[in-house]
Symmetry: C2
Subunit: 612 residues, 2 copies
């Protein structure tokens, strides 16, 4: 356990020292945590180990916590103490010269003392290993993470701070989503969720009952819950009648339940005894604003009595109870997390609900299709042979075609005659484009002519384009055009792949044009994709309703769209050389067999190394 700094983080000289340190440890069969860290804690009474330089003693509990920041380790130990959150182990991993976060995660997978994992991360050492481990752990133990560097400026600051390459934040989101890791955006939320998970069962659904002695805070809780996708549902069957009977003198009984002014412990106990048995709810939020006339401790005890025996999640809000409230401490010690503000409860519940939904996801398989891998290898080899790293037009479409992604038929023509022959073969109307990798953004430079309906028009188009292109300097190849089937109607979508320095390939999908460029309504997932991933990518787009038929239009052929994404995923998995793919547009049509990729661009890693 090396706490000292002055290693890798200070530069080349430090890195040398760090490598020596690791080598020395290895020589004697030792493992090392650090250097440049805050230390580790193990609260298991059998070890009762505190190797940190902090002054706060960790409470024993069932939370494992890893921090990539030493300073945060200290702050978090302190804050956890205030909140009454107990740890099984705490580890600040520093430079991760030997033991990494992944190593610790792997250990916790089977650690009987650890039920929940909290993480503060600045970057991923080995995200593919993280993915594998996190996916397994999440099935039985929730993982909640703060990942710093969400914004470009934050990521830049992080890089200069840790010396690591910045990951794409969409990649982090995709990674966490695919592994069932709950991403929170602050340490405060990390605690709020951690406290609920460590002391209460995971609710079976998103329906919340609110029992409060104050209308205002109950309203705020309702607003916060509903705006985060939770359901402040109505009471089932007899609940209303039972509440009216048990709370004599109470006017309205609705969820949220606003107990009469001056409600004390007795009211909470009675109300909770009824509400806890209502099958319409999966969790109960009790809100108490302590008036001067009411004994807080009595209310705390009544809440405990009232909810006894339920398997619903119970969270409490004691708003304005003041610092060091004995009632709040008592509830915490009795297993009910207490929050100062209702919004924190809403955030925690909605995150935990997303974990429940993750657990309930169908575990679909990775599908593979019969494809022409050899053909793609040939195209790539030919390109690399001629020192070409970008495939466009016909070649790019041929790659997709070999993997069974439907593409608009096309042919290259070097003369007017060939162009007409191609058009005759393809069938009118056709589109004629300049066939040149140098003119990538074709439409804007006017190098595309559409809706050509006769041989004469195709001839004219060839001549016309040739004249234009001759004006473009440094054109060395012989002039040619691509004659392509004209695809009309349908909905423009965009499929693609981008490579993240740490996560590897990410598959992208969105609707074309404004939806991608202005509204950024796109979905990313880390390759490979399961059937479920693809369904989610498509279904979670804000513009999704456009695909299912909007204002009386026909829905698009969804099976072809999904299969095309899965085939793209397979292509990306099969060829490490591919660094970027942009299929734009892929026109989705309602008629079966008509959806097609119209244009594509494939960028390969430079063949002479630098393959990230």
């Amino acid at each position: 356990m090396v706490i000292s700094a002055g290693f890798r983080e200070v530069g080349a000289e430090g890195l040398k020292l760090e490598n020596q340190l690791v080598a020395n440890c290895g020589k004697y069969g030792m493992r090392m945590i650090g250097p440049n860290c805050f230390g580790i804690v193990n609260t298991d009474p059998e070890y009762s180990l505190n190797c940190t330089f902090g002054k706060t003693r960790a409470l024993q509990g069932r939370v494992g916590f890893i921090s990539q920041s030493g300073a945060l380790g200290e702050a978090i130990m302190n804050q956890a103490h205030v909140l009454g959150l107990g740890f099984s182990m705490v580890a600040s991993i520093g430079n991760k010269a030997d033991v990494s976060a992944n190593d610790i995660l792997e250990f916790w997978k089977d650690d009987p003392n650890t039920d929940i994992v909290l993480l503060y991360l600045e970057n991923f050492g080995n995200p593919r290993r993280f993915t594998k481990i996190a996916r397994e752990i999440s099935l039985t133990k929730p993982i909640v993470a703060v990942k710093a560097g969400r914004t470009t400026q934050g990521a830049a600051a992080g890089s200069s701070h840790t010396g690591a390459l910045a990951e794409l934040d969409v990649g982090v989101d995709a990674l966490f989503d695919q592994c069932g890791v709950l991403r929170v955006s602050s340490v405060e939320e990390l605690f709020d969720v951690g406290a609920a998970l460590s002391k209460q069962p995971i609710p079976k659904g998103n329906r919340v009952a609110i029992v409060s002695n104050a209308g205002g805070p109950a309203l705020l809780a309702t607003d916060a819950l509903v705006s985060l996708g939770m359901d402040v549902a109505p009471y089932a069957g007899q609940t209303k009648a039972r509440l009216k009977r048990t709370l004599s003198g109470q006017g309205n009984v609705n969820n949220p339940l606003d107990l009469v002014a001056g409600a004390g412990g007795e009211h909470f106990r009675k109300a909770l005894k009824v509400v806890k048995n209502d099958p319409n709810f999966d969790s109960i939020v009790t809100i108490f604003v302590p008036p001067v006339t009411i004994n807080q401790m009595d209310v705390a005890q009544s809440i405990l009595d009232g909810v006894k025996g339920t398997n619903k999640m119970i969270l409490a809000c004691f708003m304005g109870a003041g610092e060091g409230s004995a009632a709040v401490d008592y509830l915490k010690q009795s297993g009910i997390p207490v929050y100062i503000f209702p919004e924190a409860i809403a955030k925690a519940l909605s995150l935990i609900d997303s974990y429940r939904r993750w657990l309930q996801r169908p575990r679909t398989k990775f599908k593979t299709f019969s494809v022409n891998k050899k053909r793609v290898q040939e195209i790539i080899d030919t390109a690399i042979g001629s020192r070409c790293t970008a495939l466009v037009g016909e070649a790019a479409l041929a790659v997709l075609d070999a993997y069974g992604i439907p593409v608009a038929r096309c042919r290259i023509a070097y003369s007017e005659k060939e162009a007409v022959a191609a058009a005759d073969k393809i069938g009118y109307p056709v589109v004629v484009k300049v066939n040149s990798p140098e003119i990538l953004h074709k439409t804007e430079s006017g190098a595309v002519l559409v809706d050509l309906r006769t041989a004469k028009e195709v001839k004219g188009a060839f001549a016309n384009l040739k004249k234009k292109v001759i004006k473009i300097p440094r054109k060395k190849d012989r002039f040619s055009v691509m004659v392509q089937e004209m695809v009309t109607g349908g909905i423009e979508t965009v499929m693609g792949m981008t490579t993240d320095p740490s996560f590897g390939p990410l598959i992208m999908f969105g609707l074309g044009g404004i939806y991608v460029e202005i509204l950024k309504d796109v979905a990313f997932r880390i390759n490979p994709l399961t059937v479920y991933n693809v369904e989610e990518m498509i279904g979670n787009l804000k513009s999704f309703p456009l695909l299912t038929g909007f204002r009386g239009t026909e829905p698009v052929d969804m099976p072809t769209l999904k299969e095309s994404l899965l085939r793209l995923s397979q292509l990306v998995a099969d060829f490490d050389q591919l660094s970027e793919i942009d299929i734009n547009p892929f026109i989705a049509q309602s008629e079966k067999g008509k959806s097609k990729a119209v244009d594509a661009r494939i960028i390969m890693h430079h063949p002479t190394g630098n393959r990230r």
Copy 2:
């Protein structure tokens, strides 16, 4: 000051008692606060008044606080005490039988002891008066508000809780935006912003310097600030060199500044003395995570020394300092708000920045145009005379036309001959629609024929539509069609008006089709609109880039679009009878004089009362 409950909030009997109470007060020339409230506090030493039943003593300060919830009043007093937030006055207004929030606001406008106003509201008694007062106060004293009932479920709970009608939440947003009221979504944020505003000057811009002894929290602060629109800007000119010189041994010096491990007070003092003079920043966030080896009080004192004399806003984060830290208390007492987590600072700064931008808005006038008010009055009178409350087609367009909103030319025709004559007059191509208020959603029922290029086609269209409509039962009027100029190309926009029960008319603008229906990318403002309101409504849409020319298309004729909205605003202001207007589509074209409303629908309040 009547604290007792049992009045209006319990029903008719209570309302009677409340009215008697008010009448009795009036008889003796008294004003009354309450009933059913938490009480009032005035910390001015000359009065030193505490008329609440809470046990917490309010600290003296410059914040005026109004709570519509008595329970929240108690919670807030308590929490404010913990945070060291001082009040000039606190008022829980309860049922507002006599004195309202507006009355208190009006008093604070000129109250020398109150510099900031915090509000917790559940509904508006008289939103038009609130608007007027809030607009005036905001010019010199910031107003920060939590308005419960953001969500439909929250609003419903609020209605049952207060007995008031729910306002449209878009109306609340518009109201606050137009009055410069900062809307926060939780009481916690209310405090966070209140603390910053009450102790520190308003920054002149959005550029933030971060000085931290810990990398992780500095990263989190950067993420939070940037994602909320703040700028963690680079250092100006000599700052880097000066920092390197003054902090010998420090490696990287960048914003966020991560002081060397083990940095103590001396480092903070030196760094802040340099950073506070950097003209690139408007505010400074200092973050301190207390390691066991460093004296917290020394750091607190050094921060105070370091920032002395600056007019930048200074906020501090002491993460994990623990409860009751003397250093934190000392900083708070010395005028520097201290937060536990950096995200709270980011939220507060970004809200305060939106207030600065509001203060800097151009104070544009309400424009009025020369219009044909008489013509509109005639149309309305005719409609009401025939007990018709919805104007569609020609009549609705005629109303817009009378107010100078450009509309597609149209004529009604009762025969094939008249239809052809109309088309000849308008000019081909034309559109022919069934002219019937009963068939409102025309396109979907196939009652529109477009792009008719000859007299023959128009004739055919008339016959064709007549045949269709005869099948629709209960058609009593003589069959007629509307022949309309065909508007092609351009961008579909939607303009409209809806009436909120409390705020009155709201004007709406958005792009048509999917942008309104699926992406909800629309803007609302409370009528009347200033020129600035209109610019903001258009400019803040996510789909705004479509109007300014996207992918090489021409920008639309913006002056006509803006003027049309202002003319709509004038129409709405002139005629109380109008309850809803839906101009859909208003086609925006790039060519001057071509943008036009193609269809409209105007709903009037029912003439026999019930005019909300």
